[in-house]
Point group: C2
Chain length 200, copies 2
DNA sequence: TAATTGTTTGACAAAATTGTTAAACAAAGG
DNA sequence: CCTTTGTTTAACAATTTTGTCAAACAATTA
């Protein structure tokens, strides 16, 4: 978004995002991407120099987009529970668009480079994270959620949200559920999560 | 295991498992695998014909091993909670050995072939699954766990176990935790999971 | 219209990876 | 000792994928 972003460049990027993170085809070749976008393969190199740079660019963009939405300061004051609800909503919406974004991250953590870039955000978010943890402790003391290490609460939260979406095809199969049934399950998901996180 | 399994063959397989599923380097070449095993690259082809066949073989083996341990009938009678505890223990142990096995599955579901093979197990497990779901419902009625769609309970269970292990490097970073601290967190993990699943 | 700039293309080169083959080697049995 | 069988190796071939380049093309601007 820094400058103009020719239509073709944008088209290639969007196509790549779709192939990589919606369809999960991480090993797609430049040829396949170019074909899917309906452009000459050389253009991929013209705009992004190399396949890896293209990948990195779209990955960072997708991830940044997600973080931004997630961290966006909500309008009015929200209760703790409302904040959690919003967190769930945003995350689930994103995971529905790019189901393979997180699983790529999981499967490629070892590379490490990706996370270094992500870390740029860190300073900004560090204090907000701290505030969030403190808020969790307050809630525990107030008795709205069970007492435990606040980190465990965070792990619970993201696990319950992300896993069923990232692992959706696996879960569908191993639970012998059809597409429809799983969708219905996801619709109820938010409430199911809230039910186990909060004492009620 | 069908026949003899020469030492070299076994060595290559074990090395491949480690590279693929412990280190998560799914794109490792035959050369890298051979190097890591300290054998000539041609041997990989001699024993497994092709890279893909090697991959499939070790994947199926790893997965089968896991399923077997998970489904193994426990000795005496266990209470529902004890069964869940055992489930957590087995899964966490396995995920510690091969943290990338599940995430590979997640990231490559679209291929679909893998799961077809896994499906062989299905008939055996189908009825046990049903029994498990019924047991969950009984527990809900008995009031030991919150009322919800039993499938949601299953999703909660596997999410809470698997995600923090599969996403470990990501979580370590985004929560700014050191290796030590995260390990400690995992030690407490079982109790944290039980705490949210059961009413107490 | 000529010139400049940016875009697109096909042809080509380079690199990386896989797969095959024939020959060397070693162990075991006759 | 010779033969057979299974194992290991190096050299080679084939394929796949990436990356480069010069020329064609289009749009805009002088």
């Amino acid at each position: 978004m820094s400058t103009k972003d020719s239509a073709t460049e944008e088209l290639i990027k969007e196509t790549a995002k779709k192939i990589f993170f919606s369809e999960g085809r991480f090993n797609a070749t430049t040829q396949e991407i170019a074909d899917a976008a309906g452009v000459n393969r050389t253009l991929v190199h013209y705009y992004f120099r190399s396949r890896d740079l293209l990948f990195e660019k779209v990955w960072l963009e997708g991830h940044a987009e997600f973080k931004e939405k997630l961290m966006e300061e909500p309008k009015g004051d929200l209760s703790f529970k409302q904040k959690i609800e919003r967190f769930i909503d945003v995350w689930m919406a994103h995971a529905q668009k790019y189901p393979y974004l997180d699983s790529y991250l999981a499967a490629n953590m070892h590379a490490g480079e990706l996370l270094d870039n992500v870390a740029k955000f860190r300073d900004d978010h560090e204090q907000r994270k701290k505030a969030f943890l403190q808020e969790i402790e307050r809630e525990m003391k107030a008795g709205t959620i069970p007492e435990m290490d606040p980190m465990q609460f965070v792990l619970n939260l993201v696990s319950l949200i992300s896993y069923p979406l990232a692992m959706r095809p696996l879960m569908e199969r191993s639970l012998s559920l059809g597409k429809k049934k799983y969708e219905a399950l996801m619709k109820e998901r938010k409430q199911a999560i809230l039910k186990v996180l909060f004492k009620d």
